[in-house]
Amino acid sequence: MEAHAATVEHAHGPPEAHQSSRIDRQTLGILLFIVSEVMLFGAFFASYFFLRVVANVGPWPPEGFDLPTAVAGVNTAILISSSFTVHYALVSIQRGNRRGLIAGLGATWLLGFTFLFIQFNEYVHIGFSARNGAFGTIFYGLTGLHGAHVTVGLILLAMANIRAWRGHFTSEPKKHLGVEVPGIYWHFVDVMWIIVFTTVYIL
């Protein structure tokens, strides 16, 4: 058997794995990763619940905490529109439209970066820090956690951008997973922002 193992070792590469599900591994992988990300947000939303409902009775946000809801609303619109541009990029490459792919990905990245920049600006001018009471803590906790996810999304999209410029994706199935998978993550980041925005700024 030892000899057998040795011959097989150098005979050929790995056998093609049998595809036992309609979903491909990369897509399923990112979906499961998103499940775990949702639960990470869940931990911070749980903390939000305890801080707002259990530990602090009275007005919420407390006296002296003013949120720039209008600016954040515009910012929300910017982020949501980036979901459409990333979808446009995916549809473009599926139809073989390389120019549309590059334009869509580039626009998505710029919109995402604009969102992050406005968010950062908001932190600078908001007038309270994460040390100021339970509200400051959970405000920065939730928006900061989301901001970290936007950053990760931008890194993934940057890879997709670079590869698109270098001519990597084609319209065949599975040849543009590098656009599709970051796109799924980006949609998650957008949907999560809607929930965070509603919870923190509106409710």
Binding site: H4, I23, D24, A43
Partner: protein
């Protein structure tokens, strides 16, 4: 020398770690100087320069190791090649390959098992020190503060870098083989998951070097004890992040592998129960572990950035720590147990030579356990002062978990019923021992689920007894069963069964002698987590300590047996247990890509004694498949027996 530092490997990893630490440390110092603050900060919950430095050091280590080489190329749009063709990074040709970033699931499995057993012995040594201290009332060899760090580190090491990852290691090795896959779905992610583990372990062990001593708030790290503790606590917070990220990534990998890479014919009702167990465990890990990551981030933020998550005076909520923590950590006890259930199912069915009793119900019971496990977290908090209305619902759901667990226990017993039991196989002995000790632990768990009993014995040695009956008598026994069962497959050699039996009986006696009396002194009120105790418990504690030394010494027999047998043991052959699952149909150890051709599955995995039943067919040489095709060397004669 310079060339060695340019090549991916431990040398470059060490350099990367140093550079990473320097970068993080420097970054904090520079930012602090820009903000007009003193360059370093050494308040006991602070040390941002060290914390950030440790995080960047870990990433520097991983980059140096070569964990990201492929991804960097991919991200830059440079030409890439599949890991399988990357000869240096796939498969082990010498022992040195086990110390590299390797993408072969079999190599990673061995890396996992060996690393986690190193931590098992480190954690065990801590237990021995604690039992020495507790042998008599008063202070013997360690100060109470050190004792607190010891029990905290013992638990953290055993849970986060032994029990959880060793199961991942065993499954890493056998699961792709069992489902007929050439490797895991994401081989590079798999390797990255493994290499985050030593980082976590080093942080736990290294915390003893921190100013103020190791973390001492218990493995639970309750706020506000943890938010005000010395620097060592931050090591715990970070270590949990790395161990957690490692297990989430591994679980994701298992799920994708099981769903998308099963061999033709391997439908869900033909999966071996080990695969079912890892499927359900991975679902738990993916959906629960982020909660502990989240709550440890909050503690770290409270310590470093002075946020108010758990600062009652500033509007924080102390109790929310326990809710969020246990929302992970109760499912975590099933993360530590379900893979063991899978191992025991394999071992019992194979060694009893009988089909597993109630296969489908066994699988469904696993799903029942994971669903219920999300609904019981507050039974750890009956005495915490939480919402009183939550107690009764949590008690009921807790007791309900005994139903699916009972289904499993009775199914194993029914599998054993009428079989020809012989007590010569060590794997089987550990599986049988597991049924006994885990049932005892399960019953004391049901007792603890009842609110009045729980209130009476909270924070006593009864809890210590219960947790060790389920984690040592449960998880660790199944780990030993699994290691003995698959040792011939992993190494190609046979271990010494006689030494194995000695190991089992000494472990069983040592385990019972150590943990049974803890129930009694716990009922009488001896508190846990203390270095000193009332003189009335002295005799019992001396007895417990003696048995615990026996238990510790017995593990050295295991160590000796494994090391010597790996090198000099007799050749085991492909299928020493005459088992049916696919990993036994290939050579021992399996060839580098597992199969020449993906096997085809034609029946259930446990059809022992069923005439003509087959589980899987390997290669085209089999008569009933394609008689016209020429035989492939080696695949004949590896069919099921």
């Amino acid at each position: 020398m310079v060339a060695a530092l340019k090549r991916p490997g431990l040398g470059r990893a060490a350099l990367g770690g140093l550079l990473g630490f320097g970068f993080g440390y420097g970054l904090v110092v520079v930012l602090r100087l820009i903000s007009g603050l003193p360059a370093t900060q050494t308040a006991q919950t602070g040390y941002p320069q060290l914390i950030v430095g440790m995080i960047t050091a870990a990433f520097g280590f991983l980059i140096g190791l070569g964990a990201f080489d492929y991804w960097f190329r991919w991200a830059a749009g440079a030409p890439t090649y599949p890991a399988e063709l990357e000869h240096k990074a796939h498969g082990a040709h010498s022992w040195r390959d086990y110390f590299k970033f390797n993408t072969d699931h079999k190599v990673i499995g061995i890396q996992y098992i060996c690393t986690t057993f190193v931590f098992f012995f480190i954690g065990g040594a801590m237990a021995m020190i604690m039992r020495t201290e507790l042998a008599q009332p008063g202070t013997q060899i360690v100060e109470p503060g050190t004792f607190n760090s010891l029990f905290s580190a013992h638990a953290a090491i055993m849970i986060f870098v032994f029990v959880i990852p060793v199961f991942a290691g065993i499954a890493n090795y056998v699961l792709p083989l069992m489902i007929g896959a050439p490797d895991m779905a994401f081989p590079r992610l798999n390797a990255l998951s493994f290499w985050m583990l030593p980082i976590a372990g080093l942080l736990f062990v290294g915390s003893f070097l921190a100013p103020g001593g190791g973390f001492d708030a218990g493995w639970t790290g309750y706020a506000p004890l943890s938010t005000g503790a010395p620097l060592g606590q931050s090591f715990f917070n970070l270590g949990v992040q790395f161990a957690g990220a490692s297990s989430v990534a591994t679980a994701l990998n298992f799920l994708v592998t099981i769903i998308t890479m099963r061999a033709p014919g391997m439908n869900f009702w033909r999966l071996p129960l080990l695969v079912w167990a890892n499927l359900s465990t991975s679902l738990l890990v993916v959906a629960a572990t982020p909660f502990i990551a989240g709550v440890q981030f909050m503690v770290l933020f409270d310590r470093l950035l002075h946020t108010n998550f758990f600062q009652e005076l500033n509007g924080g909520d102390v109790l929310s720590y326990q809710h969020i923590f246990w929302f992970y950590s109760h499912p975590a006890v099933y993360i530590m147990m379900l893979p063991g259930f899978g191992i025991v199912s394999e071992v019992i069915s194979t060694h009893a030579r009988k089909p597993i009793f109630g296969y489908r119900l066994m699988a469904l019971a696993l799903i029942g356990i994971i669903v219920l496990s999300y609904t019981v977290w507050a039974h750890h908090m009956f005495v915490s002062g939480m919402f009183a209305w939550l107690r009764i619902p949590m008690m009921i759901t807790t007791l309900l978990i005994a139903v699916p667990t009972g289904i499993k226990i009775f199914s194993w017993l029914a599998t054993l019923f009428g079989s020809k039991l012989h007590l010569r196989s060590t794997a089987m002995l550990f599986a049988l021992g597991f049924i006994v000790t885990f049932t005892i632990g399960g019953i004391s768990g049901v007792m603890l689920g009842m609110v009045p009993i729980d209130i009476h014995v909270s924070d006593t040695y009864f809890i210590v007894a219960h947790i060790h009956f389920v984690l040592f008598g449960g998880s660790v026994f199944t780990i030993f069963a699994g290691i003995y069962h698959w040792f011939p497959k992993m190494t190609g050699r046979m271990y010494d069964e006689r030494l194995g039996r000695v190991h089992f009986w000494l472990t069983l006696v040592g385990m019972l002698g150590t943990f049974v009396p803890m129930h009694w002194i716990g009922m009488e009120g001896m508190p846990r987590r203390v270095a000193d105790y009332s003189a009335q418990f002295g005799d019992w504690n001396l007895l417990i300590s003696c048995f615990s030394f026996l238990l510790g010494a017995a593990q050295l027999i295991f160590l000796y047996n494994m090391i010597v047998s790996w090198k000099w043991g007799p050749l085991a052959g492909d299928n020493p247990w005459r088992a049916r699952t696919i990993e036994w149909l290939v050579s021992s150890p399996p060839p580098i890509f597992n199969f020449d051709q993906i096997p085809r599955v034609v029946g259930g995995p446990y059809e022992y004694g069923v005439p003509g039943a087959r589980h899987a067919i390997l290669g085209p040489a089999e008569a009933e498949v394609g008689a016209a095709e020429p035989a492939v060397a080696g695949s004949a004669g590896t069919g099921p027996t």
